[in-house]
């Protein structure tokens, strides 16, 4: 078993009466790409927020390369690149300025920031939009610039919340190539998604979360157990069968 790059240990978060994340533990070994699956409201974003230092857990913690995120945040944060979801960006900066901002905040030398920012904008097809304010970007372009911001300091662990949402097929393929190359060189990726086919084709490990608990985790084949991932996911999470009478008015009109 190779080194564990990301280890979640009993992460728990309550919002008022509601338990959003309920004792999530998970290991992600080096050089793997893990797909985090779960229905809406399963606690994926909350889990990732607690693993990246954005949200203080009620209990449990996360380790990045053995460093406790909540005991030594500076060392842990230096090792990961994060694409958060549902969080604003400093979008009155242009794409180039936003990348420069992220690079400098990470303490990188200016020359590296400038050269890497240029390469990233080029690779993600944002070179034409480098002088446009991020606020004027489309949803897919915002995802791409967010991804570029997560990559600029060359972390060895990427935590990406819905990286393919609203991204067009061409850019999606670019992102896949970037991520595959990253993993092939020993990097580690955790990404959340709702698209089973994408996770099946891209990830070698899968974790399924529902109602704040891990229902299944392991390699793709361990989780699938010989079934398509879609089928297995529905079995685990439980489908919501419609009665014959429900929504009958919709069929009669």
């Amino acid at each position: 078993m190779p080194d564990t790059v990301l280890a979640l240990r009993g992460l728990t978060k309550r919002f008022g009466q509601q338990v959003a994340v309920d004792g999530v533990s998970l290991d992600v070994p080096a050089g793997s790409m893990l797909g985090l699956l779960g229905p809406n409201g399963a606690g994926k974003t909350t889990t990732l927020s607690m693993a990246t230092g954005l949200l203080r857990p009620d209990a449990g913690t996360a380790f990045i390369h053995g460093v406790d995120v909540w005991a030594d945040p500076a060392a842990a944060k230096a090792r990961m690149g994060v694409l958060p979801d549902g969080v604003r960006m400093f979008d009155r900066l242009t794409g180039a300025e936003l990348l420069r901002y992220h690079g400098l905040l990470r303490g990188m030398p200016e020359a590296d920031v400038v050269s890497r920012a240029g390469e990233l904008l080029e690779a993600l097809g944002l070179a034409d939009a480098r002088s446009t304010l991020v606020i004027d970007y489309s949803a897919g372009m915002r995802k791409k610039i967010g991804l570029a911001c997560a990559l600029i300091h060359a972390p060895r662990l990427l935590l990406l919340d819905e990286p393919f949402e609203a991204v067009d097929p061409v850019s999606g393929e670019t992102i896949r190539q970037i991520l595959r190359g990253f993993v092939a060189s020993g990097g580690t990726v955790v990404l959340s998604s709702h698209v089973m086919e994408l996770v099946e084709s891209l990830c070698d490990r899968v974790a399924i979360i529902a109602a704040g608990r891990v229902l299944a985790a392991g390699t793709l084949d361990e989780v699938r157990q010989g079934q398509p991932l879609q089928r297995r996911f529905l079995d685990l999470v439980g489908t919501h069968a419609l009665g014959t009478e429900s929504l009958s008015w919709l069929r009669s009109s």
Partner: protein, 541 residues
Amino acid sequence: MAALLLGLRLRQLGRTLARSPWAIVTLVVAVLGALGALGVVAALLLVLRVAAPAAGPDAVVVLGSALVVGWAISGVLVSADDALAPERFALLPVPAARLLPGVLLSGAVGVGGIATLLALLTTLIGWSADVAPLVAAAALVPLQLLTCLLAARALAAALARQLAKRSGRDLTLVIGSVLAISAGILVPAVAEGVRALGAAESMLHAVAEVLAWTPIGAAWGVPLALVAGDLLAAGARLLIALATAALLALVWGRDFRARLTAPIATGGGGRVRSGGWIDRILPATPVGAIAARGVRYRIRDPRHLVNAIGVALMPVLILGMQLVIGGRIEVELDAEAGVGLGAFAAVGPMLVPVLGAIVLMSVAQLDAAYDSSALAVHVLAGVTGTQDRAGRALCMAVLFAPVLVGASVLSTAVSGRWDLLPASLGATLGTAGIILGVGGAISPWLPGQTPAPEASPFGSGSSGGAQALLGALIMVAAIVTVGAPALGTAIAAAWLPWLGWVSLAVGVLVGSIAVWLGVRIGGRALDRRWPELLAAVSREP
């Protein structure tokens, strides 16, 4: 349908209050402010009623016209976050005619609308000298309120296409902010000017008579004509008032109908100038990057721009007022008491730029709140609290130090006493430093509330909320205690000019120590409270 929309509006307001106890405190403060304004209006009208009953009706006409203009301007300023914008109904199979009454009435739900209704009822005091005007005025209150509501909707509708473009929207907000900041000072200045010209009452009457024939004042002009017993004029003005309301309704209704089928998409401003000089003068470090980002935001984000304009404009306006009114007071003092130097001119150079620094209070404390959840970048990148605080302080220093020094030089130049320049600088820089320091230190605990990014700078949250009020009290307390040596010696320098140099030395020293301490204390608090601060500023009004 109207009841449904009103219910929707009430539920929206209720939800805002239920989300945070600070929101309730903010509402209470807003209500107290409105009651205070109503009290002033009522007291003014009562005094007029007793002392000069003939002037009451004239005052009411001017007041009513001002209300209509105020509604129209504020309608444009807050139109960016209209919860009942026509676009939101575009997918519903409901004709505009059924939506319009509810949308219009919902504008009256809120502190502003209720306060206006109460103000309109209060103005009846002004008419109470005669029976006929009083009855007519009472009957016209609904039309007057309707005119206010329609004016707000119609002007915003007429400008909607321009406001949809970011450049147009930002420009409108900047002009509006200059007007809003100026209004508080221009109105007394104009009033003073009128008073200075003498015969205030006849002047007021003349203004009221003109306004009474215009669309903005006609609804109040009807009872004014009845006071004079002029039935013909009353009828004509009633027609003007009704036609105004009809025309406003027509303009707004046409725009509303058009936007139901052709929604206005808010557009961008295209490419922007890079402002590479900002990166060149600031170091390529986390602190420098935060400062550079701050400087760019002061220029590009209207919410920040409005504050920056306030810092620069406040001293200029006070100076302008001093030139209009102060000069006169000085002359009177000279003549009556034989004071060699007008009191205002003596301490003006010290106090005027300090007012600019005071505007910094909302900037220093609320800076992180303006970032909203974008602040997550700082948390994710592992920016230390000290770096964050130092970057923000550096941004303010780069931007506002030249503005405040300029204000000092300008107000000293106006007073003509160059020997007071060190005192002016000492008082201003000392006060600004204390505000920046205290603001940075308390912001991790009291981040305050701001309008959301992209929302109007004058929309919900623009008052800063109760936390900002508490923060302002703390900052004022610091200014009058820690800042006392610099301010005291600065004022004393009016009589002993060498004290100005003491003030300058003390001010720079105290200001620098305050900023340094603010960075240290605020930074340490941030390192412990990053997630909590992020959660607090992510909650948008």
